[in-house]
Symmetry: C2
C-alpha cells in the first residue's frame, strides 16, 4: 500500500513520493496564485544578525508570585535581532523542532509553520520539523508528522489549520506534563513552537519552565494567534488572523450597507465573532461606519442593562426615522451578554432554580427570582425566555453561547418601537434582518499583512530556538512600516503575566487585552459614532485584494495604536 | 439653501455645483480603485456599425395568444449590430431617455445606467438621461432626476442600486398605464430602459405595446437583471449580477469548508438565496465542491418528500462517519420548501384550518389534517411546527419565507441520526452549524465580468433606442470570448413569452429559466457529486480579484451552457 496521510480522518493521496495533505490540483485560481506569492522577510532576517538582550523583565502584575511560579524562566530579558557583519549562530547545526497549533483557527497559521521551516532550511540545513497533529493532544499522544518541502508547499499563504490541525486540549496535570516530556525526549526535540492565544501561550511558558526544571534540552517559543485580537501588548502589537478576519467581515458588512441604502427598508443587525473582547466589532466599525455599534467593554464599564442597550439602539432608530431613514446597520459583539451584569445574575439564579426546583407551567417558580432578575426575565422576548429555560449544557447550565443576541435585540427593539409608536413618539417602519459572521472569517486566505506577519513570526521563532531561547513569545514590531523595516525578536512570556486566584491557588494568566476605552481605536470611534448614527457615511471595503495598490492596507486598530505609541 | 438630493431619505451634499448621490470621499480604497477601472466595450460598439434584422420571431409558447396580446410588437425580428464603414444612425440627434431599476438589487445595475449614458454622450451628444426614482413607481409618479456626468461618476463599477433606487411596484392597471403615458409625454421621452427580472421585462413589453398603440414616440427596451440567474435564453445567455453574487457566496462557502476540514467536527448547512430556481446553489456547488447539494428542481422532478431529502443528507453523513469524517458542508436553496409538494399541501391545509377552526392545546384540531399531512406535521421539528402555527402574513397565510430551512434540516438530521445511532447504524458525532448567505451578495462590487457585461447591455440599449427599436431586450452574446468579441443586439421580448391562465384570462409571462436536469451545469454536477460527497475535494475560490490573472474568471454555469451550445 502506498503511503498516505489522514487529515481529520481524510485519507489523502500521495504525490510524487511525497505525502501531500492538500491536493493543489483542486485549488481555485486565486488559491493557486497565492501559493507562489513571494513573501518579503524583514531585512534583519535576510542578512547576518546577532541577538542582543535587553534588561531583566518583570511581570504584568504580581511579579513576586509569577517569579515563584516560574523560578527558571522568570525575569528573562527580551531578545532583539540586530544586523551584524557575520552570523553569530552556528549554521551547521541540525535542529529537531516541533510545532503545534492550539485553539481556534486564524488566517496565517500555515505561514507561521512555513516560516519556521524556511528558517531551518536556510540557516540550519538538515534540521527536522515535526508537526504535532490535532493540537496539544498531539504532543501528549506523540501524534506527529515530519514536515517536508513538498508537504508544506500547497499550504503556503493558504487559510485554515488543516496542515496539522488544531485542538483545544490543555497540558495541565502532572501526568500530562510527563507525557509532553516523554514526547520531547522520544523525538529528541531541541525546540517546540506553540502557536496559540493567551491560554496556549501561558501553557507554552509552563512547558518551558517544566522542561528547564527537568533539565530537558527542549526550548519553547510561543506565537500570538487569535482573530479576536485580544492577545497583544507593546512588544507584541498584534495577534495574527485579526487583520484578515476583520477584512472578511467588513466586506460583508459593507455589502449589506449598500443593500440597506438601496432598499431603504431594513435594519441589519450583525453579530460578529469575539466572545471575550470586542476588538473585531470595533475594527469593523472603523472600516465601515455603521449607524450603531455596541462595544461590550463600554457596556460593562457603564454598567449598562439590556434595557439601556435596547434604548440606545431604539433612540437612533427613532431619530433616523424623523429624518426619513427607515434603514440602517447595527454591529453587535458575540460576547455582549457576558458584559451585562444583570444577565449574568439572572442566568446564575436560573441555573440554581433549574437544578433544585420544579418549574411549573403556572410560573410559581418565578417567585424564587430576585425582583431585579424577574423584571429582566419578563423584559426578554418569549423565544429567549424559552431558550434560557430549555437549552442546558452537560453540566446543567444555560448555554449563553447559543443565544442569538442579534435576534434578541431585534425583538426587543420591535417591542420598544411598538410602544413608542403608540405613544406617538415614533412614526417609522421597522424591519430587522439578522446576520452572524463568524466561521466565514477564521479560515480565509490571509491578507498580505497576515501572510507576511505570520511568516516573520515563524522565521523569528526559528531564530530564537536556534539561539536556545525559551519561554519567549516571538515578537515582530514596527508593523506600520514596510515589511523590510519590521523589527524582530522575542519577549519573555512571564512579562505578559499576572496571577489569578482559583480554588485558593495562584494561577498564572496572560491577561486578555480588552478594548481600552481610553485607547486610540475606541476614542476615534467614539468621536465619530454620533455622526455615523444619523448621516450615512457607509464605507464598503470590498473584497480583499492581493495585488495592486489596495493590497497593502492594514487594519485601523493596529495603525491607530501604533500612532498613539509613537 | 444649496441644492441637495434625497436618496432613500438621505440628504446628500452637493459638490462643485453638481448633485452627487454618493460621496466618493468616504469610499474605501478598493471602491475608489474601481471607479476609474476602464471598461472595454465590444469592438462592434467602438466602431461604426449598422443594425441588421433577423427573421420574424415567434413566442416561447402559444404564439397565437401572444400575438393577440401584443398586436403591435409581436413577431419583431431580432436586431444585430454589425460593423459598417460608416454609422447609419444620425449622430446629431438629441434623445430624451428614461431608465428605471425594478425589483431586487443585483451587482452591475449602476453600470447598465453608465452604459446608456455613455452611449448618449458618445453618439447622440446633447441628449438627456432621466433616472426614475424608486422603481416603476417613479415612472407612475413622475419622480425622476436628470443624470449628469458628475452624478454618475462615483457609481461607476460600484454595487448597489442607490443611484436611483429600485422598487417592486408594477404598472398593471389601466390607470397605471395612463400615468406612465403621462410621464412619457411630460418628459417628451424618446425611450425608456427597464432594468429588471422576468416580471419587469414582461411589463416592459406591455409598456412598449401600450405606447405604440397610443401612437406615443416612446420606445421601450429591457435589460436582464437578477442574481437568481433565472432570466436567460439562447439570445440572452445570462442575467447580470449572478456572476458576482455567486462569487461572493462561494468565497464564504470556501472559507467555511476550510474551517470544517480544520476543525473536523461541524456540519455546515448553508442556505443560499434563490427562491424560484436553484441556479445559485448549483453554481456555488460547481465552484466549491460541497459534500451535499440539494437542487430544488431535482427534488420536484423526483417528487421527493422532506423525509427523502433528510435521508439523502443523513446517508451521506453516515457514510462519511464510517470513513472517519464527522464534518462537511451542505448547500440548500432558499426555495427548497416550495419544491416539495407535500409541504405545499400541508401548508394549504393549515391555512384552511387556522382560518376557520379552533386550534386546541390538546391537538384535536390535527384530526382535520389529511393523514399524509398529519404524518409530515409530526415529522417536523417542534420549532418548525410552532412557526407554521404562529407566524402568519396579513392575509392569514403561513409565512413560508420565514422558515429557516437550514435549521429545520439540521434538526431533522439530528433526529434521524439519533435513531440510527440507537439502531447501531451510526457511530459518529454530529454538530450542525447554520448559515444563510443572501443580502451579502446582492450589492457587492461587480466582478469584471458583470461590470463589462452590464456596461455593454446599457450601451446596446442606447443603440437600440437610437434606432427607434421597441419591445426588445438588450442582448449581448458570445460571452465566453474576450469582451472585444462579444456580439451585441436586441431580442423581441415576445419571443421569450408564453401565456398563463389566471382568473380565466391569458396573461403573458416570460417563463423563469429553471435548472434543467438535462443541462450541462446540472449534468456536470450530477456526475461529480458522489465523489464530492465522500472525498473532500473542497475548493476555496477566495475573494474576488479585480486585477491580475485571476480577475477574468467567469462562472461555470455560463461557460458550461455556452460550451454545450457550440
Amino acid at each position: 500500500m502506498s503511503p498516505s496521510l489522514v487529515v481529520n480522518g481524510d485519507l489523502v493521496p500521495v504525490k510524487s513520493g511525497a505525502v501531500t495533505g492538500r491536493v493543489a490540483s483542486v485549488y481555485s485560481e486565486v488559491q493557486t496564485s497565492r501559493i507562489d506569492h513571494a513573501l518579503l522577510l524583514p531585512s534583519v532576517l535576510r542578512n547576518p544578525f546577532k541577538i542582543v538582550e535587553g534588561p531583566r523583565s518583570s511581570a504584568a502584575g504580581n511579579p513576586d508570585e509569577i517569579a515563584k511560579l516560574f523560578p527558571y524562566v522568570f525575569g528573562q530579558p527580551s531578545a532583539m535581532l540586530v544586523p551584524n557583519d557575520t552570523d553569530t549562530l552556528k549554521q551547521d547545526q541540525k535542529l529537531k523542532i516541533g510545532v503545534v497549533l492550539s485553539g481556534g483557527q486564524a488566517p496565517g497559521g500555515h505561514n507561521v509553520i512555513s516560516g519556521i521551516f524556511d528558517y531551518m532550511q536556510d540557516r540550519t540545513k538538515g534540521s527536522i520539523l515535526y508537526g504535532f497533529r490535532g493540537g496539544p493532544a498531539g504532543i501528549m499522544k506523540c501524534k506527529y508528522i515530519e514536515l517536508t518541502p513538498d508537504y508544506i508547499y500547497p499550504y503556503r499563504n493558504q487559510g485554515g489549520f488543516d496542515m496539522i490541525c488544531s485542538g483545544r486540549d490543555k497540558i495541565e496535570t502532572p501526568e500530562q506534563f510527563k507525557q509532553a516530556e516523554e514526547t520531547a525526549k522520544k523525538l529528541d526535540l531541541d525546540g517546540l513552537v506553540v502557536i496559540g492565544g493567551d491560554d496556549s501561550n501561558t501553557n507554552a511558558c509552563l512547558l518551558a519552565e517544566n522542561f528547564r526544571s527537568k533539565n530537558l534540552k527542549t526550548r519553547v517559543i510561543g506565537c500570538p494567534k487569535t482573530i479576536d485580537g485580544d492577545l497583544k501588548c507593546k512588544e507584541v502589537p498584534a495577534s495574527f488572523g485579526f487583520d484578515t478576519a476583520c477584512r472578511i467581515y467588513a466586506e460583508m458588512i459593507g455589502n449589506v450597507m449598500i443593500d440597506a441604502r438601496s432598499t431603504g427598508k431594513y435594519y441589519h443587525f450583525v453579530r460578529l465573532m469575539g466572545r471575550a473582547a470586542s476588538h473585531i466589532t470595533l475594527e469593523c466599525a472603523l472600516q465601515t461606519h455603521p449607524n450603531v455599534t455596541i462595544i461590550g467593554e463600554e457596556v460593562a464599564a457603564k454598567k449598562q442593562t439590556l434595557k439601556n442597550v435596547t434604548d440606545y439602539i431604539v433612540d437612533v432608530i427613532c431619530k433616523r426615522a424623523e429624518i426619513g431613514f427607515n434603514y440602517g446597520v447595527i454591529l453587535i459583539p458575540e460576547g455582549l451578554i457576558d458584559f451585562i451584569p444583570e444577565v449574568q445574575q439572572l442566568i446564575a439564579e436560573l441555573n440554581e432554580i433549574l437544578a433544585h426546583d420544579v418549574v411549573d407551567e403556572g410560573g410559581v417558580w418565578k417567585k424564587k427570582l430576585t425582583s431585579q432578575s424577574l423584571q429582566l426575565f419578563n423584559f426578554l422576548p418569549e423565544a429567549i425566555q424559552e431558550q434560557l429555560m430549555l437549552e442546558r449544557d452537560p453540566h446543567g447550565n444555560v448555554q449563553v453561547a447559543k443565544i442569538e443576541t442579534e435576534k434578541m435585540l431585534i425583538q426587543m427593539a420591535e417591542t420598544e418601537l411598538e410602544k413608542r409608536k403608540q405613544d406617538g413618539a415614533y412614526k417609522g417602519q421597522f424591519k430587522g434582518q439578522s446576520h452572524f459572521f463568524g466561521y466565514e472569517g477564521r479560515c480565509g486566505l490571509p491578507t498580505n499583512f497576515d501572510a507576511s506577519y505570520c511568516y516573520a513570526l515563524g522565521y523569528a521563532a526559528g531564530a530564537l530556538l536556534h539561539d536556545r531561547k525559551t519561554g519567549l513569545i516571538s515578537s515582530v514590531g514596527n508593523l506600520g512600516a514596510p515589511v523590510d523595516q519590521w523589527t524582530v525578536g522575542g519577549t519573555a512570556l512571564t512579562s505578559l503575566m499576572d496571577v489569578e486566584r482559583r480554588h485558593g491557588k495562584f494561577k498564572p494568566v496572560i491577561k486578555k487585552a480588552m478594548v481600552e476605552l481610553d485607547g486610540a481605536p475606541f476614542k476615534t470611534f467614539a468621536s465619530l459614532r454620533d455622526e455615523w448614527a444619523l448621516k450615512n457615511h457607509y464605507i464598503s471595503p470590498g473584497p480583499i485584494q492581493f495585488i495592486g495598490a489596495t493590497a497593502t492596507a492594514v487594519n485601523h486598530t493596529l495603525l491607530l495604536e501604533l500612532a498613539a505609541q509613537s
